[in-house]
Symmetry: none
Subunit: 197 residues, 4 copies
């Protein structure tokens, strides 16, 4: 992923970095993110919670941001689900995702990162591939539907995926309220049928 593998190519001298400390740091980061959100996350707090010196953190991550990105990367994304029917696929994937979202640090981490990346090229670079790979299963489901003839060949799948998850993004960023799993059904139906149906 990034420069975090404990034994860098060929290099071997010196005591190797502790995989245990690494994980403790990531765990502590996620815990604190859940407890207080991005703005309450301090490197000192992470160090203390993980039982680790600050230097051990800064040795691995240049700053708070890449640390959060990596912690974020360990969180679950969409989980593919192939029922042979697009509507069901989407409803299950989104439903499951929302559950995960509401029970993990995801809901705390994602908006912060998304907001911050705008002003932070480094974060942007780090975040890009993580963000993209998370959408993958969604695109896959749409491709399968296209192959089955459920969807026109002309449809831009990227745009289609955006349309499907769009209402979630809007709710997330502009409405702030918790995202309820019951929203998923009508949401997917509307996206499939269109407003004018």
């Amino acid at each position: 992923m990034s420069g975090t593998s404990p034994n860098n190519s060929g290099s071997s001298a010196g005591r190797p970095r502790s995989e245990q400390a690494h994980q403790a740091i990531l765990d502590a980061t996620l815990e604190l993110l859940v407890e207080g959100g991005y703005s309450a996350l301090t490197v000192e707090g992470v160090a203390s919670r993980a039982g680790v010196g600050k230097a051990t953190i800064y040795r691995r991550w240049a700053s708070k941001l890449p640390l959060i990105v990596e912690a974020f990367g360990g969180l679950p994304g969409f989980e593919d689900c192939d029922t042979g029917n697009l509507s069901d696929d989407l409803k299950r994937m989104l439903g499951r995702y929302l559950e995960v979202f509401n029970t993990t640090a995801l809901s705390a981490v994602l908006p912060s990162l998304a907001g911050e990346r705008f002003h932070n090229d480094e974060l942007s670079t780090l975040f890009e591939p993580v963000s993209m790979s998370r959408r993958r299963p969604l695109i896959d489901a749409l491709e399968r539907a296209q192959e089955r003839g459920e969807l026109s060949r002309e449809i831009d799948l990227e745009l289609a995926a955006d349309l499907v998850v769009g209402p979630i993004a809007v709710a997330l960023f502009f409405k702030g309220g918790r995202l309820k799993p019951e929203m998923v059904g009508p949401m997917v139906d509307l996206a499939l049928r269109g407003l004018r149906a």
Copy 2:
């Protein structure tokens, strides 16, 4: 706007608050937001840029956040447009908004605020009405379409609005790329027709 009017309920002794300083502060806030984003915005920076003492800022806003929210509130939102046709209404509104978005501080401010509100109840409360009122013209256009019979009476207009702006939100937060006005046409068409069209 909010509780910032310079002459509070009848009280009058002493020197009145300077309207000029007020505006200078708001302007400086927006400028700095554009330049460095949320995380680089400091009250000290605002004070210095506005040629104002810090106390003058804290006398009007309880903290950094309400200041940013008010500055944000001064930025343009959707501008209503009634062509008698939903597709055209939406395309024009979204197209115009994107233009505004790309030429003002909006693109810098919005994601930051949206990201931060999640961990900050105070901000959330402040942000809510501002955020809602910005969506208003969109909902209005959808209502008109419903009255004209273009849209079914059963449709949840909130959800419909989310579907329409959803792809913009996704592009904004997860793809990070600038939002191009050309995207608007296909986006609206797809939302109106639905994926299965």
Copy 3:
């Protein structure tokens, strides 16, 4: 706003520095120096003992050293004493000084500063005048003795002063033992008579 008001150049804008904080810092420095010596003195400790933020310290002193120099400057030096007789003058001055030395932070501060100045030009510059002014009363007493005819006109007073305080310096730096007031009598006698007497 202001306009053309001729501000007193440099001196007056803003809240003035707290004389109280200043003194609290100096006091805390001396206390901690007495308790743990130079190497145990931390700026953080001083701040906490003085009930002051670190920034308040760094606003006044560029680093630990100038702070110590100033604290040192507040400690008493030789106190002039004119009995009309060189031997008595010297014995009293040295005796009194040793008392002061053994009951204040002086014994902790002086050797550290003396040792450090060798590698620290800034400190050297700061320390020079303080150090010199402390010797002054000694030189004065020697001058009076010269005027009375007790001492030859040919004698280099600087060297003479060095000879008189020399044994103290030696005891201080190389023997480390506490300096006993009883040493003063024989010391001065020997310096006046010379080894070969």
Copy 4:
């Protein structure tokens, strides 16, 4: 010198300690002491300069301090000189010492150690015998003078030695200027004759 001999009492298994590393460490210590003084000396710096691991240093010396003391112990002290005449003995010894002083690390190391020992009992204990043994030749010369009848039997030789080197100590610690060999003649003469001569 101390407990640093590489082959400890009989035990022998394993690789013996490298005498070469030992010396490289001592040399590096002295070099760095000359360059930046006590406060700038870091064990990490010594290790790096000596091309040695930190553990190799800590295996031999319990901490920074004993290392410095041992390095200091390797520097030259007074060198005895017996001309049959006290004045000449002293002038030569002091003169030679000053030369050595000005051309070796001594001038950098001595003040730092002397200053630090005051706050550091461990250092003090370590430093004591080293410091004392360096004065030895001076005391010897004074004893010889006493035996020859040049000096009264009543004189306290310790005090006499202090008087002789006193001005050097003063110049060193309080005047900071380099010590010039020309000072030696008048200095010794004055100490021998006394101020009142």
